[in-house]
């Protein structure tokens, strides 16, 4: 694979691993992140992995960009023989429809399906976490079944509660914090994607898979209670 090195001003460098969205290219991005973190380079302040790029933030008064490029190139040589850690599947409970998923009827109608069929399709296959961004804890997911793809709402809602699960065109996602948004909301999860006072603060990492599963109102209440008391354990399995 050919990597491209592009400055993002004088405080970050972009290492571009490809020009499209693919799990293969994203694997290269994650390998680069792990490899460069291992190097513990003085002057690097942060990393932002995305679909097809790794952004490396640095302090240019501490390390010259040429030195940085030399390190990037020597680390890149190791990628082919590197193994990524085993991927986790994170099982996310969702209460579909009703007041928590006001757009479920619309998504069903738009796709000529019943509400139960939409739920069945949405919760049947795992989605890949390509990256996080946009708001703290928001996952860009790939792999939603396109039979439930639905355009965004024409007028975005001003407030969508945290935990809301939605569909926008061919993508699905979860709102980690209350925010405005135009996604078709089909349900809500009681688990928290972002807990600033806990370790780890975020539920997902890039490279994980999300498996939604439907819960009843009673189960939702029970899980909410456990989450509030800090005892709910999100189920994690290994990707097979």
């Amino acid at each position: 694979m050919t990597l491209k090195y592009i400055p993002s001003g004088d405080s970050a460098f972009i290492i571009k691993a490809g020009d499209e969205i693919s799990e293969e290219i994203n694997r290269t991005v994650r390998k680069l992140l792990i490899r460069l973190e291992k190097e513990k380079i003085n002057g690097i302040t942060d990393f932002i992995p995305s679909y097809n790029e790794l952004m490396v933030c640095y302090d240019h008064s501490v390390i010259d960009y040429r030195q940085l490029l030399d390190i990037f190139r020597s680390c890149a040589a190791d990628l082919d023989t590197m193994e990524l850690p085993e991927q986790s599947v994170i099982h996310v409970p969702v209460l579909y429809g009703g007041g928590y998923g006001p757009d479920l009827p619309y998504v069903a109608e738009y796709n000529n399906l019943t509400e139960d069929e939409v739920i069945e399709i949405h919760s049947s296959s795992a989605c890949f976490v390509y990256m996080l961004g946009f708001t703290p804890g928001f996952c860009y997911l790939g792999g939603m079944d396109q039979r439930i793809a639905t355009p965004r709402q024409e007028t975005p809602r001003l407030k969508i509660p945290s935990g809301s699960v939605g569909i926008a065109d061919g993508q699905t996602g979860i709102y980690p914090i209350e925010s405005p948004g135009g996604w078709q909301i089909i349900g809500k999860t009681p688990v928290r994607l972002f807990s600033p006072d806990k370790k780890p603060e975020f539920l997902f990492n890039a490279g994980d898979y999300v498996q939604f599963f439907p819960v009843t109102v009673d189960e939702y209440k029970h899980i909410t209670d456990e989450v509030d008391h800090g005892v709910y354990k999100v189920r994690r399995t290994k990707k097979t």
Partner: protein
């Protein structure tokens, strides 16, 4: 423990430090001081740790009462700082006594003032930083802007009181019209030659839709190549200039989202983010392209300012 009490908050006053690093991969913005240069100087003037938390006041300053003797330094925008009605110098260590009141008469230049206290503000850090990130309601004091009646605890001063000041010629001028230097961005090839010409040769105005997240500018439309305004969502760094389909540039600032989907035409250099952070709606700017080596030299020159500042002038206890 010493503290400061907020008598009135001003338009938007928040606790900020050097920023929240290490969590951008989870979509957590860095936040921190908008004008990093002025923020760092304020701490240096007081002998504070480099990452100590201070106040960032926007457009209008707060009124603050001190519960104990301490030191204070005001840097950045000139909002006419005074203690008990007696005007005080910017960019200088000032000793205040119990009961003294720090106030501001009104904005004279710039947009954001930094108010540091000896020992720094010691609200509980969240994810390694005391910076306030308003959109998620975390950091600072209860994740929000300051209000009348708030009390902020101060840390132990790191050294005996020393008076320091920074020569005026080392402080940038906050004009209403600036040249802002940039490095070409990763999607420069997504723009028509004419679009790049607009970007680098015409004037852009700071609009009212500018805040800690980003500065939205208006001016001559920057034309993309057909269908090239959108990109696969990717990282954004401090000062990234995005151009959405409407051709009007947005410069991403301290509370920027970590990733975005618009073509990145350029990046404002670190040294000039200081100038931009002090610009107000209605101010105008021109972008100018420079090299990475030149940008680095400007950062190293800034180190020189710090050293001059650190050497101090007189010791006093």
């Amino acid at each position: 423990m010493a503290s400061v009490i907020i008598n009135s908050a001003g338009l938007l006053t928040t606790v900020q430090d050097a920023g929240r690093y290490g969590y951008q991969r989870y979509g957590m913005p860095v936040s921190g001081a908008m004008d990093v240069f002025s923020y760092e100087l304020a701490n240096l003037l007081l002998g504070n740790d480099p990452g100590a938390a201070c106040l960032e006041a926007t457009v209008s300053g707060p009124e603050i009462v001190f519960t104990d003797e301490t030191t204070v330094a005001v840097t950045g925008a000139d909002m006419g700082p005074h203690v008990n009605g007696m005007s005080i110098a910017l960019n200088t260590t000032v000793i205040v006594k119990k009961g003294d009141k720090l106030g501001f008469t009104g904005l004279k230049s710039g947009c954001r003032s930094y108010i540091a206290f000896g020992g720094g503000i010691v609200v509980p850090p969240v994810m390694g930083s005391r910076s306030t990130y308003l959109r998620a309601g975390i950091g600072g004091l209860e994740g929000r802007a300051l209000r009348k009646g708030d009390e902020l605890p101060l840390g132990e001063a790191k050294e005996k009181i020393k008076i320091r000041s920074i020569p005026g010629n080392l402080i940038p001028e906050y004009g209403h019209s600036q040249v802002i230097r940039v490095i070409p961005g990763p999607e420069v090839q997504c723009f028509e030659a004419e679009g790049l010409r607009s970007f680098l040769t015409t004037e852009y105005q700071v609009t009212a839709q500018s805040d800690r997240m980003g500065y939205r500018l208006s001016g001559e439309m920057i034309i993309h190549k057909e269908g090239k305004a959108g990109i696969i969502s990717a990282g954004i760094s401090a000062g990234t200039v995005q151009v959405p389909g409407n051709g009007q540039p947005i410069v991403l600032m301290a509370d920027r989202q970590t990733s975005g989907g618009y073509a990145r035409i350029a990046n404002v250099i670190t040294a000039d983010l200081t100038l931009l952070a002090q610009m107000m709606p209605g101010d105008t700017l021109r972008f100018k392209e420079i090299t990475l080596d030149h940008a680095r030299q400007l950062l190293i020159d800034r180190r020189g300012v710090y050293l001059q500042c650190l050497s101090g002038r007189t010791g006093r206890t």
